[in-house]
């Protein structure tokens, strides 16, 4: 084996070579078959006697006989009375619309079948999201069919009509008698809603408006207000940046507009012989984030020292820029990272970018100062189109609470915000809302805040309503309904119009906004302008002249009072997961079951702890601990996480919802309660006490479910070595064969005549479908996992079945770790002496789907020919033939086959599965079979899409164009890491990538000829020792 090849491992247990790990790895199944449990649940029991047997036998015979007597059921075919023109049974209709929930923004295309939305895809025309969509947006289609949604307005717990609602609302507003009433919303980005809000405030002069974000950017807004005179967020241009430094900013995960940033960022990460260069990404953070795990250089700091780290970075850059330094204690991170990063940034001046996730305005002002010195404004940071997706100011919330308590504000109308759950003083909000004179909530489904309100307006789902958005100045997008409303609900715009006493419809109100845009654009035909915008979903104008916003100068006083802090104790950092985010979608089982990209845990939140810290305290995975911060105390399991700073622990927010649908009930604890309240809410808590309770629980982690047996699965190299040799790191296996003339030759696995193989050669005369995955582009975000789940009707199995290693995802993202010390890899297992503080770790993500092997080992062992090869290179899975021997899964070297253990569609044990309700079943893709219990299933390369693509080609009498057929994972990938196509077409992108020097097949020495190839990961580091 080549020495340059890194040794990676999948979990700490593997690195430590624990007994339990070796034991698990040696067994195919986690546990013995739970026959007793399954059979014992009913009257059927394993201990039944002969009489029982005869009874069951007799009943079975009788039932079978009776069942055979019945006629086939009469099915009806009920056509429309008046067939709508744009909809036809069995044909998909796509609508361009907008997803915005106060947290994520995306311009999307919604696929509807028979009038019901079933799938979301990114809108490639959007200059912001550029066709990318994250896991939450993919999963959001299910929230439309959530059975817990409000079906009508309510007064307390009683259903009422809208006219009663309007009366009661007027009565409450009258009772306020002119005293201020506050409308509390998330950051509203809709121009129409903003206009209607202004109208409503004109109608009710005592109506005020406060914006509140569950994840606050208040610190940035305040800093920018001082530095630029703009309480807004600029647009970040990652595509322009040669060197990116992130400081606790998870910009590939959840920071501001991660989908847009992922697109831009990965443009500079994709490398090919024509362009042998890539950006350098440096990340300073205290926990291991998705963004940090993609960084070339990563250093950790203690969470409470964030300001000190930024101040020292400021000084390091200022030294190079020849500017005055701040007087702060000196700090350097591992590997002289601060000095070296400053040098790298300075070298890339004008093409450098520093972003920071802190909510402290002083820290953000220092970051602004650094970016100013680096000349980022006007190049990588763009003030010509500021973002408005975060508008909430934390001090406004504090003021509002004080006013509600004092009675200065008489009432509260909450729309799209959930402060009872996600504000640190949530408990106080309960009473404030209950006791207010005006106590109204406007929500799509019950949440902690809405249930406190006396009057509840049922809000329409975004797929049921008209609307618009301007998340970035000048970048408009339209929201159009993809289905008529399911219940007696109103959209916010409709309610505001009603409030203003207007008879205008929400559609007309929207159109008048857009007619204004049309006339501003100088469009001659407003109708054509509208139709184009509606079709495209987006419309862009240049908002401000470039660099119209000037920097007002640095103020050294921001660094006053920055100290090194206490040396002992633990800091807690609160973060959002890529799956649940701020917790608004906790009732979505797809998101709950999506493994966290880093920890691979699902269905829970947990305290991530450094390896050595855990060892010192004797904490193990699953040990329950009490985390005490001030007066707040929560009890969570420990997860030992490589890459954590030794004095920092991390806990995800978004869990512990109480008023939520069935999937979110009792999942995790609410970490928002630990957020430090104040005029700038802080997700960093210093000096927390963590103590073991002696209890243990089991975490549902998917990563260790298969073992790699020490094989070389991921390959990587460094940029300098790649430039010298494009195939560096891509060591391909071969066998040596003696030739007739006595010399030796190397024989590589493959389809050549020369290959040594036991397999019969196949000719792929027509298509030969294949996929290439760029490990350099994949950020591990997991959008593909959810997208695949939606597209292919993959069931949700729940926490216990994930623990039992029975998750059903057809695509998984494997995450590999390698400890690093001083730039060198630690090769030896369990080498605690050499891992230093245990926070330096290299991470690789590798999406794994069915490899559709040309020499598929699964096919040869199936006794009933339920899995066979197609002449297009697909490894077909025939559910109806499968008898469930599971030999194929056993023989699959990639472990991508999934056995359907239970009847997920009707077994009450799996009631989180959306297909268990009439409404939830609406989301199923009618082109894909819903698999029954007892059959094997796996990735099909989205064969339904391949067939549809071929049919389109036949209709037009042409070949299939490259890129025309996209698999669900490929389509959803914001990084563009997955390329699918026809290998028989020499011009196709996938053919080119297969010939790339970085291309390799996983364990290709088996000569199974996988149809999925990966491209070696390239790291951009100065010192390439490892």
């Amino acid at each position: 084996m080549d020495k340059t090849q890194p040794k990676y491992w999948r979990s700490l247990a593997e690195w430590q070579q624990e007994e339990s790990f070796r034991d698990e790895a040696s067994r195919e199944f986690k546990e013995e078959l739970p026959l007793e449990e399954i059979l014992g649940s009913g009257s059927l029991s394993l201990s039944s006697n002969r009489r029982d047997f005869l009874k069951f036998f007799g009943f079975g015979m009788g039932a079978a006989t009776l069942a055979a007597c019945t006629k086939a059921p009469v099915k009806k075919a009920i056509p429309f009375v008046n067939h709508p023109e744009e909809m036809s049974p069995s044909l998909a209709t796509w609508y361009a619309t907008t997803y915005y929930d106060g947290y994520d923004y995306a311009s999307v295309l919604v696929k509807t079948r028979e009038g019901r939305p079933i799938k979301m895809e990114g809108n490639a025309l959007s200059p912001i999201s550029q066709g990318g969509v994250n896991a939450r947006v993919h999963a959001s289609v299910l929230s439309l069919y959530d059975t817990t949604r409000y079906k009508s307005p309510r007064s307390g717990t009683q259903s009422i009509s809208w006219s009663e609602f309007d009366q009661k609302f007027s009565a409450q507003m009258d009772a306020a008698a002119g005293r201020p009433v506050v409308m509390l919303t998330n950051s509203v980005v809709s121009p129409t809603t903003r206009r209607l809000m202004t109208q409503a405030m004109a109608k009710y002069p005592n109506l005020r408006w406060v914006s509140y974000d569950s994840i606050s950017a208040s610190g940035m807004l305040d800093a920018n207000e001082v530095d630029f005179g703009q309480a807004a967020l600029p647009s970040y241009r990652f595509a322009q940046a040669r060197v990116v430094l992130g400081i606790d900013a998870d910009f590939l995960g959840n920071w501001l507009m991660p989908v847009a940033y992922t697109r831009d960022y990965t443009q500079n990460r994709k490398i090919n012989p024509d362009k042998p260069e890539m950006s350098r990404h440096i990340q300073f953070e205290s926990r291991l984030s998705v963004t940090g795990s993609n960084a070339d250089v990563r250093a950790t700091y203690r969470a409470s020292q964030e300001a000190l780290v930024v101040a020292n970075l400021y000084n390091a850059v200022a030294k190079l820029a020849g500017q005055s330094l701040l007087s702060v204690p000196a700090l350097e991170l591992a590997g002289n990272s601060i000095t070296q990063s400053a040098a790298a940034l300075w070298k890339a001046k004008g093409q450098a970018l520093v972003v920071c996730g802190s909510n402290d305005p002083k820290v953000q002002r220092m970051v602004n100062g650094i970016n100013q010195m680096l000349g980022s404004y006007g190049s990588t940071i763009d003030w010509s189109s500021p973002m408005s997706i975060r508008q909430g100011r934390d001090k406004d919330m504090e003021q509002l609470m004080a006013d509600l308590k004092s009675g200065a504000v008489a009432g509260l109308i909450v729309c799209g915000a959930n402060p009872v759950y996600d504000h640190p003083k949530g408990n106080e909000w309960v009473e404030l809302i209950k006791k207010a004179t005006v106590s109204v909530a406007f929500a799509t489904q019950p949440d902690e805040t809405a249930v406190c309100a006396r009057l509840i307006g049922a809000c329409s789902h975004f797929l049921e309503s008209w609307g618009d958005a301007e998340p970035v100045a000048g970048q408009y997008s339209l929201q159009q309904p993809a289905i008529s409303r399911l219940y007696d609900t109103r959209s916010l715009n409709e309610w505001l119009l009603q409030m203003c006493g207007s008879s205008e419809s929400a559609y007309d109100a929207l159109k008048s906004t857009w007619n204004g845009l049309a006339s501003a654009s100088g469009a001659a035909d407003a109708g054509a302008f509208w139709r184009t915008a509606l079709h495209n979903g987006v419309y862009s104008v240049q908002a401000n002249p470039v660099s119209s916003v000037a920097y007002k100068g640095f103020d050294a006083s921001v660094a006053l009072g920055i100290t090194a802090g206490k040396a002992d104790g633990l800091d807690l950092v609160l973060y959002e997961k890529l799956s649940l985010g701020n917790g608004a979608h906790a009732s979505n089982p797809w998101l709950q079951e999506m493994p966290d990209p880093i920890s691979k845990a699902c269905w829970d939140n947990y305290l991530a702890v450094n390896v050595k810290t855990a060892r010192e305290n004797n904490w193990k995975d699953g040990d329950m601990v009490k985390v005490k911060a001030g007066s707040v105390e929560v009890e969570v399991p420990v997860l030992v996480q490589p890459g954590m700073h030794p004095r920092t622990v991390a806990l995800a927010v978004g869990y512990g919802r109480t008023e939520v649908g069935v999937a979110g009930k009792g999942i995790g604890v609410n970490a928002f309660a630990l957020v430090q309240a104040g005029s700038h809410r802080s997700s960093i808590v210093s000096g927390v006490q963590v103590s073991a309770t002696g209890q243990t629980t089991e975490l549902a982690q998917t990563q260790t479910h298969h073992t790699i047996e020490g094989r070389n699965i991921v390959k990587e190299t460094h940029l300098d070595r790649y430039v010298a040799d494009h195939s560096d790191g891509n060591v391909r296996p071969y066998v040596t064969r003696k030739k007739a003339d006595g010399t030796y030759e190397k024989v590589y696995p493959g389809k050549s005549r020369n290959a040594i193989t036991l397999w019969q050669d196949r000719d792929y005369e027509g298509h030969h479908w294949a996929m290439a995955v760029d490990l350099n582009a994949c950020t591990g975000c997991g959008a593909c996992v959810v997208s695949c789940q939606v597209e292919n009707n993959v069931p949700v199995v729940g926490k216990q079945e994930v623990i039992n290693r029975r998750e059903m995802h057809w695509i998984r993202i494997d995450r590999y770790y390698a400890f690093v010390e001083d730039g060198e890899r630690i090769d030896k297992e369990n080498d605690y002496e050499r891992i230093g503080t245990g926070d330096q770790v290299d991470v690789v993500f590798q999406p794994v789907m069915c490899m559709q092997c040309d020499n598929a080992p699964c096919e040869t062992v199936c006794p009933v020919l339920a899995t066979v090869h197609s002449d297009e290179g697909l490894n077909q899975m025939v559910y109806n033939r499968c008898v469930g021997t599971r030999y194929c899964a056993n023989n699959c070297p990639y472990k991508v086959r999934r056995f359907n253990w239970f009847s997920y569609i009707d077994n009450p044990k799996f009631n989180t599965n959306p297909s268990q309700t009439d409404l939830g079943r609406m989301v199923l893709n009618p082109d894909v079979t819903v698999r029954a219990r007892g059959v094997m299933e796996k990735c099909t390369f989205c064969v339904q899409r391949i067939q549809a693509g071929k049919l389109d080609a036949k209709r037009e009498g042409r070949g299939v164009n490259d890129g025309e057929v996209k698999t669900a994972c490929q389509q959803s990938c914001p990084a563009g890491a997955i390329v699918f196509g026809d290998l028989n077409d020499p011009e196709s992108e996938v053919s080119r990538l297969f010939l790339n020097e970085r291309s390799y097949g996983v364990i290709e020495e088996l000569n199974v000829l996988p149809s999925v190839n990966y491209l070696t990961k390239v790291r951009n580091r100065d010192t390439a020792k490892a």
Partner: protein, 302 residues
């Protein structure tokens, strides 16, 4: 001698089993083969052969029973006349004497085996609704519309022009003509009522494919150019529609084996055109759907 009688017993049983039990199965197979491959008037088929075998087996059984009787009588005679020593002949003695219990047992076994055979025969037809002709809520006649008036199928079944589903016409399509024509006929009044009350007509679905089988009308009708009648039978002669074809997988596959692909479609030229095997096959006798992978599972099941 005992061996003879054991043989005799089994012959009786098995010949019976063959005649009663397997016969329906074999005849079903034979029928299916007749329909599929073998010409119906091939004269000497499998079933005739079976019948002859059964006749021979029965004759042998009868002969054996007869000779058993004779041997038995001979033995008794010898013993009675003292010519033979019963002690000496004990070991070769004939023990088996058909009694009522044997006859009943044999009959019961035959009945059981026959029943199982019949059960399999019935089971193999479960779910096949060939000939299904339910009464429809409106007595619509294809014979009149498609036959006498020569209205194109796709005028009403619009989906066939672009989608997987051919679609049952919506009421507004009926109303295209019937808001003028035969307004007062009792059946047409039902359509008017549906239109006026905005209430869809609930037709009984005749052709039911299982959900796990993908079938696309558009693909067959427009791209392959298959006539509607190929699967739906003489629809223009049906006053009341019934299911003409079996709609089983065997029936689908058979057509895919025999039907030639329209290779003029640019798709085939673009995808296969440059392949030598394709060109060779093309020259000979064209390609069937099966030749191009049309029998593969994932073409219809996914």
């Amino acid at each position: 001698m005992r061996a003879i009688f054991h043989f005799q017993k089994s012959v009786v049983l098995w010949s019976g089993a063959l005649s009663v039990g397997l016969n329906p199965l074999i005849s079903v197979t034979a029928l299916a083969q007749d329909a599929a491959a073998a010409p119906a008037d091939s004269g000497f088929g499998l079933s005739q052969l079976i019948w002859i075998l059964i006749f021979i087996a029965a004759a042998v059984a009868w002969l054996l029973v007869r000779s058993s009787r004779m041997l038995d009588e001979e033995y008794q005679e010898r013993v009675d006349s003292g010519k033979a020593d019963p002690e000496k002949l004990k070991d070769v003695g004939i023990k088996f004497k058909p009694r009522a219990v044997h006859v009943v047992g044999a009959l019961l076994t035959l009945f059981l085996i026959g029943g199982i055979g019949w059960g399999i025969d019935v089971a193999s037809h479960v779910g096949i609704q060939q000939g299904y002709q339910p009464a429809q809520p409106v007595a619509f006649s294809h014979e009149l519309h498609a036959g006498a008036h020569q209205i194109a199928c796709s005028y009403c079944h619009t989906g066939v022009e672009r989608g997987k589903s051919a679609t049952i016409p919506s009421v507004n399509i009926c109303m295209n003509c019937h808001n003028q024509i035969k307004k007062d006929a009792p059946e047409i009044k039902k359509i008017h009522a549906a239109w006026e009350q905005n209430r869809p007509i609930e037709w009984i679905r005749i052709h039911n494919l299982p959900d796990f089988a993908y079938f696309n009308h558009y693909q067959h009708y427009k791209i392959a150019g298959i006539e509607c009648q190929t699967c739906h039978g003489p629809i223009e002669k049906m006053p009341e529609v019934y299911q003409h074809s079996q709609l089983t997988m065997g029936w689908c596959i058979n057509c895919h084996r025999e039907t030639k692909v329209d290779l003029d479609n640019g798709y085939y030229q673009a995808v296969h055109g440059d392949k030598p095997a394709f060109q060779a096959a093309l020259k000979e006798k064209g390609l069937t759907i099966a030749n191009l992978g049309g029998l593969e599972c994932s073409k219809c099941h996914y």
